[in-house]
């Protein structure tokens, strides 16, 4: 497309009006040959023909003759911002001077914006530096807090551990005394027992709280006669309710001889925590435990006629160590935190309905598969058949314990390989593939934890259960991590060991079959 003549003329006029071009011509010696009249408007005055003009036009000083040059915007003697083009032509030099005020203003504004941007950027860098420093400080503080929390957990676990042994003794010896004393003393002794059991439950909560975030808190379901289970729980807590002269009722809508797959200890722990709380916060009336089983789910509702909970209580009831400000009742503030965590682990659920002065109902739902008599028989047969092909590696330096474990495990139909220390276990596993490993901790040559580390490093994926006379690693939970599948307390309860083997090896078999 080309512009019409009239438009071209118009544009030329506009351009000339805005740039106001002036010029002068010199020879190679920079002697003036001619100039336009309007050059004076730019302040270039006192010009003379055939005279060296480098004094008048200082931008010509040092100019390399014969070179075309566009100078950047400069200020003319009259203060106008001009652009200068030097155009050599044969032995002449043509110089064009144009008004560049608009360009200068644009450039000035651009420069100003660039300066502002640079300023902002510098400020941003400063803020970023401060932010990084704050982040670093926060990370440091966080680390300190984590360390403090770890120490606190360790301290609580240590103290709780030391409380447990004497408490267990108190309960054990008072149990033994129960039948040897008169009826009047029996009543007093039962109060000692119930209080000791209550203290033991608190201690267990403290220990579990220390294990909440570690793999040590494991779920081990087994077949449980659920009717007997609830009666035991009620009997366990009845003395505490009787002490407060309130009722503790059980309303069980369960079929006779109903057997369910649940982790008895953990479900009991949840119930004891909730029922204990209900009794604690009920001064008149009763606590009722309602339970039923429908479609793989065991539902337990604990209803009380107690003081109820405010909205704040309901919002904070699962926070560790939280105690309501609205009343003063003893406790660690851990029972509900642990209950919720255990329910999470079991895949269960918990609902709270409560109003101040109108009592509380806490409903828990536990996943619980039913085991029929025929199924139980079938499982036993299947397990004994599959057990014949399974090999258990026992790593134990105590020959007395090893002999007893070996006797039971072989009686259940498993093959057993026994070695005396971790080093021998690591070597044996290099050439054989056990289905499950039972590992003692304290052994000569190589201990259990080091052996497990070596086994995992050499790619051993088989389930490993630690056997320990102490409650495992309450003091060193970091040793457990995800490398072991659980622990078995010594003295070993052989029914627990058998169920652990059955459950774990069946799960491994099912995983392998999928």
């Amino acid at each position: 497309m080309t512009l019409s003549d009239s438009k071209t003329q118009k544009l030329k006029k506009l351009l000339l009006a805005s740039t106001k071009p002036a010029y002068f011509v010199t020879n190679a010696k920079l002697e003036l040959l001619e100039w336009s009249e309007n050059i004076q408007e730019y302040g270039y005055v006192g010009l003379s023909l055939m005279k060296d003009c480098s004094d008048n036009f200082d931008f010509l000083v040092g100019y390399p003759i014969g070179t075309a040059l566009d100078l950047p915007i400069v200020t003319s003697p009259s203060g106008i911002h001009v652009s200068i083009s030097i155009l050599p032509e044969d032995d002449k030099i043509n110089v064009l001077i144009m008004d560049a005020t608009q360009d200068f203003q644009k450039q000035f504004m651009l420069q100003q914006k660039a300066n502002e941007a640079e300023l902002l950027s510098a400020r941003q860098r400063l803020l970023m530096k401060e932010l990084f420093a704050t982040q670093k400080e926060l990370a440091r503080k966080n680390q300190q807090l984590e360390e403090a929390s770890r120490l606190q957990t360790r301290f609580l676990s240590g103290v709780s551990h030391e409380f447990r042994t004497p408490l267990t003794s108190i309960i054990g010896y008072s149990d033994a005394l129960q039948e040897k004393i008169c009826e009047r003393d029996q009543k007093q002794l039962s109060i000692v027992q119930s209080n000791a059991k209550y203290l033991l439950a608190l201690v267990e909560n403290l220990l579990d709280h220390g294990r909440l975030d570690s793999a040590a808190l494991s779920i081990q379901p087994k077949v449980v006669d659920i009717g007997v289970f609830f009666e035991t729980v009620q009997q366990m807590l009845l003395p505490i309710a009787e002490q407060k002269e309130i009722g503790l009722h059980l309303e069980a809508e369960l079929a006779d001889d109903l057997q369910l797959y649940i982790d008895e200890t953990r479900v009991q722990q949840c119930l004891v925590n909730i029922i204990n709380n209900a009794i604690k916060f009920t001064d008149y009336g009763s606590v009722t435990i309602k339970c039923n089983w429908v479609e793989h789910e065991l539902t337990v509702a604990v209803e009380d006629t107690g003081i109820g909970m405010s909205e704040t209580d309901r919002e904070n009831m699962f926070v560790s160590f939280w105690q309501s400000q609205e009343h003063d009742r003893a406790g660690t503030g851990l029972g509900l935190t642990i209950t919720q965590r255990l329910l999470d682990l079991m895949g269960g659920d918990l609902l709270v309905a409560s109003e101040p002065g109108q009592g509380t109902t806490i409903t828990m739902a536990f996943p619980a598969a039913k085991v029929s008599a025929q199924e139980q028989e079938l499982i036993d047969v299947e397990q004994s058949l599959s057990a014949a092909k399974k090999t258990v590696l026992l790593v134990e330096d105590d020959q007395d314990i090893a002999a007893l474990v070996e006797m039971h495990i072989t009686d259940w139909g498993y093959e057993l390989q026994h070695v005396n220390n971790g080093q021998l276990a690591v070597e044996w596993v290099k050439e054989h593939e056990p289905d499950l490993i039972l590992m003692d901790l304290n052994m000569p040559v190589m201990g259990g934890l080091e052996a497990i580390k070596c086994l995992r490093e050499q790619g051993c994926q088989q389930p490993v259960y630690i056997m320990s006379a102490k409650v495992l690693d309450e003091r060193n939970p970091e040793h457990l991590g995800s490398v072991v599948d659980g622990h078995i307390l010594k003295p070993i309860d052989f029914s627990v060991l058998r169920e652990t083997l059955q459950f774990t090896l069946m799960a491994v078999q099912q995983e392998g079959g999928e």
């Binding site: 030391e162 105590d398 007395d400 007893l404 006379a469 010594k490 003295p491």
Partner: protein, 103 residues
């Protein structure tokens, strides 16, 4: 071939017969720990083994007392320390029980 209860009884008898030896071993470890407070480890290991095995063979009280002594050692490894009186008393109980259980 022996059935399970016979085998269990045999193991139990064997364990009971080993108690005097365990008693002597404990005494040796205890004496060594009294002489040198830095060498309580053999005593700890012996108690640890007893705590684990005795309960499994039906000697619950032996297991319990061993566990109590382990806890004491955990609190202070120096048995000549402030808990010395308690430790000595419980240890004497354990020795007596070991001797009686062996009969």
């Amino acid at each position: 071939m022996m059935d399970l209860s016979e085998r269990a009884q045999q193991l139990h008898d064997k364990y009971r017969q080993s108690l005097p030896e365990k008693c002597e071993q404990l005494q040796r470890s205890y004496d060594a720990a009294l002489l040198d407070p830095a060498s309580t480890e053999p005593l700890y290991q012996a108690l640890h083994k007893l705590a684990g095995s005795a309960g499994m063979y039906g000697f619950e009280e032996l297991s319990q007392l061993s566990s109590e002594l382990l806890v004491m050692l955990d609190v202070s490894s120096d048995i000549g320390d402030n808990g010395a009186g308690d430790f000595a008393k419980v240890f004497a109980q354990l020795q007596l029980l070991l001797k009686n259980s062996a009969k």
